[in-house]
């Protein structure tokens, strides 16, 4: 067996770069939080800021399974939709307070993830297609459920019982939690294990990584934040149906925002959301058809020219930056 090493202090500047990296990141988070928290007080467009917070949460959540672990869940919207419906059912059918209902939504999302966990054994594209198909099946199943529970094709309307401003701040809270979890993951052993799985799952296995368990944790975390986002969205907007709750464009936009910034770092999805959500909102309001064209164009250009996104490409070109990016 190899002998025991001498002193265990790292020689390189690992510690100092760590502090700088954290400082940069947490400053950014603080800035975002302050800016969003003050929006209602500044009389700014609450819908827009809510949108930003929601997409940032979704993109961050997607990053756990797609960026860290390397699995692209093309049915990601399933968790979002389930979160919305579970929240609605909790509120209207079970009579729970809204906070509890949203947590219920989160719980149901995680449960769904555990149920679908066997699909993680599938490779790349098979996983993407099955994930998409499961989301479609789920949408159709829910639209078949009794109207008393899920509202049938008209969906659910919970706006009468919920407070919009509370919903706004609830989303902020969810975003903060998502970013904190992401920060923790980025520097944790689980995060490292996931990236090894992403890069080469067999080699990771041969180096002692418990692939199944690590992947499951990432999957559950991704599902949690998507379903919480769906629940709070239902709280804020007050109404939804199976078409809006399970719209494949939700997955598409989440993927674009996350990839535009760069999957695999915590900074990436946030940067991508900041960069694109403004453009998206402006165009969507005025030109819905053009908006989809632009979405498609952006994905295409991204994949062809900058598959690692803004942050990722910068890191590829400037190795020195890597240690400063969370």
């Amino acid at each position: 067996m190899a002998s025991v090493e001498g002193s265990f202090e790292p020689r390189s500047d690992v510690r100092s770069t760590r502090y700088v990296r954290r400082a940069i990141w947490y400053l950014l988070v603080a800035a975002i939080v302050l800016w969003c928290a003050s929006a209602p007080l500044r009389d700014a467009n609450m819908s827009f800021y809510f949108s930003f917070m929601m997409w940032a949460t979704l993109a961050t959540g997607l990053n756990f399974i797609a960026g860290f672990a390397g699995y692209m869940p093309f049915g990601y919207v399933a968790f979002y939709g389930v979160g919305a419906y579970a929240t609605g059912i909790g509120l209207k059918v079970l009579g729970l307070p809204i906070y509890v209902s949203v947590l219920l939504g989160g719980g149901v999302g995680v449960l769904l993830a555990v149920l679908f966990a066997p699909t993680l054994r599938l490779s790349g594209v098979y996983f993407a297609i099955v994930s998409l198909s499961l989301a479609i099946i789920l949408q159709r199943v829910i639209s078949l459920l009794p109207e008393e529970i899920t509202g049938g094709s008209l969906g659910m309307n919970i706006g009468v019982v919920t407070d919009r401003i509370e919903g706004y701040y609830a989303m902020l809270l969810v975003l903060i939690v998502a970013l904190l979890v992401a920060s923790w993951l980025a520097e944790s052993r689980l995060g490292r294990a996931l990236k090894a799985i992403r890069d080469d799952v067999e080699a990771a296995d041969a180096m002692g990584v418990d692939v199944g368990r690590s992947r499951l944790y990432a999957w559950m975390l991704s599902a949690l934040f998507a379903s919480l986002a769906g629940g709070v969205q239902a709280w804020f907007t007050g109404a939804f149906d199976t078409l809006t709750a399970f719209d494949v464009l939700v997955t598409a936009k989440t993927v674009i925002y996350a990839m535009a910034g760069g999957l695999g770092t915590v900074l990436g999805p946030v940067v991508g959301t900041i960069a694109l959500v403004g453009i998206d909102e402006v165009i969507w309001r005025s030109f819905p058809v053009l908006n989809n064209f632009l979405l498609g164009l952006i994905i295409t250009l991204l994949i062809l020219f900058a598959p690692r996104g803004l942050v990722g490409t910068l890191m590829r070109l400037y190795p020195r930056l890597r240690q400063y990016v969370m």
């Binding site: 190899a2 002998s3 390189s12």
Partner: protein, 241 residues
């Protein structure tokens, strides 16, 4: 009737089939504690398949594998890695988008030591193979030879009792080869055992305490360096046919 009185690895009657093809046929071998055992054979003889069976990437159809008395048969690769068996790959499988330090930390994720201690150990490991300068670079930015060195340094972070080396010298320039051989010998003197697969017969003859010859999935000869070198069956398998 083994060549060693203190085996760390025992493979007994291992068989692996792919459909109608028998890739490994009732192979039995031992690796003595603190020794280097060479495994040679022409292409397609079944060497990599045998390695994959030992470290759990394939499930063998028959037979068993024991490490220091512990039965590893049918276990998953990560359980076998944690039991003390390391593995390098014929085509290097470094983690492309992880830094070299992170590459070396992956085998140590179960450790109770702090992250900083692990980083220090990883730095030490990189120094031993002259890769410390590139510690912040990603795995994909290394040359082929450097990747092989990285794999070696990485597998050592497992503190393995046994290391399976699959063609470690293939395509590596002589300087790096020398460095690898130095490290392998240093590790052997610290008690690590090796099963070494290589086409580079010079290195095999130089390093091995015992050699097995595999042909068409079966052991056709075994022995010390001189014995194997001159064994007519071996000569025929390599040159004849």
């Amino acid at each position: 009737m083994s060549w060693t009185s203190d085996p760390i690895l025992e493979v007994i009657g291992l068989t692996k089939r792919f459909g109608g093809l028998v890739a490994v046929n009732a192979v039995s071998l031992e690796v003595g504690r603190g020794t280097i055992v060479g495994l040679i054979g022409i292409n397609g003889a079944g060497k990599t398949t045998l390695m994959n069976c030992i470290n759990g990437i394939y499930k063998s159809d028959e037979g068993g594998v024991t490490l220091d008395g512990k039965d590893l048969t049918g276990r998953t690769p990560h359980e076998i890695a944690l039991a003390g068996v390391g593995r390098t790959f014929q085509i290097p499988r470094t983690f492309h988008r992880l830094s070299l330090i992170d590459n070396l930390m992956i085998p140590m994720l179960r450790s109770k030591q702090s992250d900083d201690e692990l980083i220090a150990r990883a730095e030490r490991g990189l120094e031993r193979v002259n890769l410390y300068e590139l510690r912040a670079n990603h795995g994909e930015e290394l040359s082929g030879g450097q990747e092989k060195l990285l794999e070696l340094a990485r597998v050592m972070m497992l503190n393995p009792a046994l290391v399976l080396l699959d063609e470690p010298f293939a395509g590596v320039n002589p300087t790096l080869c020398r460095l690898m051989i130095e490290q392998i010998l240093a590790m052997r003197s610290e008690g690590t055992s090796f099963l070494l697969v290589s086409h580079d017969l010079t290195s095999i003859y130089r390093l091995s305490d015992w050699i097995y010859v595999l042909n068409q999935g079966e052991i056709i000869a075994q022995g010390g360096v001189e014995a194997v070198r001159n064994d007519p069956a071996v000569v025929e398998a390599y040159l004849g046919g």
